[in-house]
């Protein structure tokens, strides 16, 4: 990112998102204002407010709007100092040019037929023993189904790439068919080794072939191993409870380090 010159025709994914740090994002997510600086729709909907907030200011009243330069307050843009003037102009240019999204760098995944996807989610829940993959989302529970389906689509596509041992029918289609005939998780797990990978991808966001593969960084945070253990993904603790680690976590995830407005 060149700090010297504003960008005339910025897009969200290419120019705007890189100006926000994980810290900024987490502060906004956890400050009760429920918007995500890494999410296009979210930033688009709040663009004018953000533009006001990134103006250079020493006005303590700005703290009331959630944007504070006060010491010891965990709110942007305190950390890292104010944005350079060129960035503010870039942001204004983005608003003035109609808030374009640009090209989303996240890989696109082909949609899965709804029957298959629902069957996969049901099988996944039985195998993992987890009834709700987004159980810490107590703020917007109406979004849970959508969240589950988005993640399941990614995992389903990944599992389709699993090498099938010669002379076996150890495939996703076969295990889903067997599950439809007899929904007994322990039985299908015994019969189909692919079940191990179904469990691993939900818990660990990786799989057992290709040296365990490489989880996408944005899926890494969705690993169930953290939620089940009431801890947070190593390297990502968005909870805004100061020094949360002094306390034992509660069953709903408070003090896990992972308790925030997750939608």
């Amino acid at each position: 990112m060149n700090n010297d010159q504003p960008i005339q025709n910025p897009t969200f994914y290419q120019n705007i998102r890189p100006m926000f740090s994980q810290y900024d994002q987490v502060m906004m997510l956890s400050s009760g204002r429920i918007f995500d600086l890494f999410n296009y729709q979210s930033v688009k909907s709040m663009a004018n407010q953000i533009y006001l907030a990134i103006q250079p200011n020493d006005d303590p009243n700005m703290a009331n709007a959630g944007w504070s330069k006060l010491q010891q307050v965990h709110v942007m843009p305190e950390v890292g100092g104010p944005w350079p003037a060129s960035w503010i102009v870039t942001f204004k240019n983005w608003i003035d040019t109609g808030l374009p999204a640009g090209v989303d760098p996240s890989p696109a995944f082909p949609p899965i037929a709804d029957n298959d996807l629902q069957a996969f989610i049901a099988l996944s829940k039985a195998l993992t023993g987890i009834d709700n993959f987004f159980r810490f989302n107590i703020f917007k529970p109406e979004l849970i189904k959508q969240q589950e389906e988005a993640l399941a689509t990614i995992y389903y596509n990944r599992l389709l790439q699993r090498p099938v041992a010669t002379g076996t029918n150890d495939t996703l289609a076969a295990v889903l068919a067997a599950w439809a005939a007899n929904p007994d998780a322990a039985a299908v797990a015994k019969q189909f080794p692919i079940c191990k990978d179904i469990i691993l991808i939900w818990y660990n966001t990786n799989t057992s072939w290709d040296g365990y593969g490489t989880p996408q960084f944005n899926q890494y945070k969705e690993g169930q191993v953290w939620k089940v253990s009431l801890i947070h993904p190593i390297g990502y603790a968005p909870e805004n409870t100061p020094f949360y680690w002094q306390n034992a976590p509660t069953d709903d995830g408070q003090n896990s380090g992972f308790y925030y407005v997750n939608y």
Partner: protein
């Protein structure tokens, strides 16, 4: 091509010693040339794209080795001659140089250099610690522990009279360094509890700049369990560890949020790294005029005048996107080499001087006495008091360590065996075993499914505890053969790669054997009440696996030691030019305008993590150099 500018000070290496010295010289109005072999990775959130890339890389890898997010690894399939990695760094023994994941652990001989790795290992067991070649240096991946040495650490040889041939003593005392400890704590931004220092007889003339990082829930459970208990008369007090980690907004960096990835990357810069001082220089109109900061500049040879003063330092400047390399010479009144123990030794050993000697090496000590705090790492699950199950303590939360047990550092036992401190981990079994994903993997392989799997994961993960007994080493006759030499093989710039042969002296090994006894009692029902899950080796073919016979015993034991990431020795300071490389002010005996800083100067590892002490020594050297400028 000689550089026309005459600097007051030329500094090689922008790690914690080099960057902080450059900052100090500049604030005193001196002109500095600061050479950094690697890249500059911005620290501040605004320069997000670079740092976030490092963070995303860390998230995406299954094995979270300390060097994972940082540059400097060469693809093993690319030959050195054509590699674009011009400032390479070592990787952990047995880890393939591209850090690509699990495949490396399947390699047959983990003790040895893997094909193409930068740092070659020729010893019978591996040196388990690594360093970074990037602005900020190895503090890019440090934990942040900022303990001061105890006064006894500076006089261990004279006070405890350990049975060691050729044992070297520190040429300074705690009092010589006390003022600089305070300065270093302010520069780094250390959060600590002064009452702990007082309790253990470590005098302070200033308070910590920040309140201590709160002890974790896990620490508190152990604190209660161990209260009033002792081993060999040493109380098992679980006390707060001072850390270079913010507990309030300090130096324009936020308070720690407990991301629990201190090693190797703090996502929010609440943990100090020396990139902070580089940024402070470059972000300041006056200081940036005084400091010429050159990245991608690999110093490779020190040249000497006829009067034995240093005449210059030759360096090569590389670029990331082209094969072009330019040469330059840095010229200054004073020269400081701050490239960490292995690179500093490498640079000196590659610099011819006179009478067949290399620069600064009339004592022949350069490169010798390579030391570390070898660690006895023990792990397990905490039992409930009645031992009917496991007690959840919820590791993997908060900074990776917030407490330790410090009572074994200065005891009568030090007359016989090496002393140690006990670090308490908040990081579960991640270090010796891998993160909780590995527990899941094992449980799934064992056939666990459904609700059984959930409860099994909770049981084994939530009660994890991990302890590291960090052993002292004293440089002596035995450590002369623990050394850095130049390899026959060259790196991509044609500079010899470092070769390391690591050896542990008997005093340290005897300390390890004693620590094993302490650990056994520590885990017992009456003391810690911990289900011991330590495996030796944790992985087949571990680089730290070795067999030795403790003094006074007839039975050899097999241990697995680990590195603490503390690269110490190789240019030790002392009072006798015959056996030391620098004097107490870190000035070379052989060249009166050359200073060697960093923990390579330490004659002993002492009993605490080295960074605060090396920083204090560097700040002290600034005063000495200023008095001569």
């Amino acid at each position: 091509m000689a550089n026309e500018t005459l600097y007051d000070v030329v500094i090689v290496g922008a790690g914690i010693a080099g960057a902080q010295m450059a900052y100090q010289f500049a604030t005193k109005g001196k002109k500095v040339l600061l050479l950094e072999a690697g890249e500059f990775i911005p620290n501040v959130g605004q320069e997000f794209p670079v740092k976030q890339n490092n963070l995303d890389r860390f998230y995406g890898l299954n094995i979270k080795d300390p060097s994972v997010p940082w540059p400097g690894t060469k693809d093993p399939k690319t030959p050195w001659e054509t590699s674009d990695v011009k400032a390479p760094r070592p990787t952990s023994p047995g880890v393939n140089s591209d850090n690509s994941g699990n495949e490396a652990w399947a390699l047959k001989d983990l003790k040895k250099d893997q094909p193409g790795n930068y740092m070659q290992q020729t010893g019978t067991y591996g040196f388990g610690s690594t360093y970074e070649r990037v602005a900020g240096g190895t503090t890019k991946h440090w934990l942040g522990t900022c303990l001061r040495f105890s006064p006894d650490d500076f006089m261990v040889v004279s006070k405890y009279k350990p049975p060691i041939a050729g044992a070297q003593e520190w040429p300074i005392t705690y009092d010589d360094l006390e003022k600089y400890y305070g300065m270093a704590e302010n520069e780094i931004g250390v959060a600590g509890d002064a009452s702990v220092d007082k309790k253990y007889g470590v005098p302070r003339s200033s308070d910590y700049p920040m309140l201590a990082v709160p002890q974790s829930f896990l620490d508190q459970v152990l604190q209660q369990r161990l209260a009033g208990k002792n081993i060999d008369g040493n109380a098992l007090d679980v006390v707060s560890t001072p850390q270079g980690r913010n507990t309030k907004v300090y130096d324009n960096r936020p308070a720690c949020m407990g991301n629990s990835s201190c090693v190797p990357i703090c996502p929010i810069n609440a943990k100090y790294d020396a990139g902070v001082h580089v940024s402070k220089i470059m972000g300041d109109a006056t200081l940036s005029q005084l400091v010429t900061f050159v990245t991608h500049a690999v110093a490779y040879q020190v040249t000497v005048n006829a009067d034995d003063t240093i005449s210059g330092i030759k360096y090569k400047i590389w670029t990331k996107d082209s094969t072009q390399v330019t040469e330059a010479v840095a010229v200054g009144k004073k020269y400081v080499i701050a490239s960490h123990a292995i690179e500093t030794a490498k640079l000196l050993l590659y610099s011819p001087w006179k009478d067949g000697k290399t620069v600064a090496n009339s004592s022949s000590m350069v490169g010798k006495n390579l030391m570390d705090h070898i660690c006895l790492v023990m792990w397990g699950n905490l039992f409930t008091d009645d031992k009917t199950g496991y007690l959840p303590v919820y590791p993997y939360r908060g900074p990776m360590s917030t407490s330790g047990i410090e009572t074994f550092r200065n005891t009568a036992q030090r007359s016989k065996t090496a002393a140690f401190r006990i670090e308490i981990g908040n990081d579960g079994w991640q270090w010796p075993y891998g993160g909780p994903q590995f527990n899941v993997d094992n449980l799934v392989n064992a056939g666990k499914v459904g609700k059984d799997l959930v409860s099994a994961v909770q049981k084994v993960v939530q009660s994890q505890v991990r302890f590291a007994f960090e052993l002292e080493t004293i440089s002596c006759d035995e450590t002369l053969e623990s050394r850095v030499t130049l390899s026959q093989d060259k790196d991509a710039l044609g500079i010899p790669r470092p070769s390391v042969s690591y050896k542990l002296p008997q005093y340290t090994l005897d300390g390890y054997a004693y620590a094993m006894n302490v650990a056994q009692e520590f885990f017992s029902d009456q003391v810690g009440n911990i289900d011991n899950k330590t495996q030796v080796p944790a992985f087949p073919g571990s680089p730290g696996l070795m067999t030795f016979t403790p003094t006074g015993s007839a039975t050899p034991i097999t241990i697995e030691f680990r590195g603490a990431g503390h690269l110490i020795g190789t240019h030790r300071m002392g009072n006798d030019p015959a056996v030391s490389v620098t004097n107490a002010d870190l000035k070379c005996w052989d060249h009166n305008n050359l200073y060697l800083v960093g923990c390579g100067a330490f004659p002993t590892t002492a009993t605490s993590n080295p960074t605060l002490t090396l920083t204090a020594l560097a700040l002290r050297a600034v005063d000495k150099i200023m008095s001569e400028l």
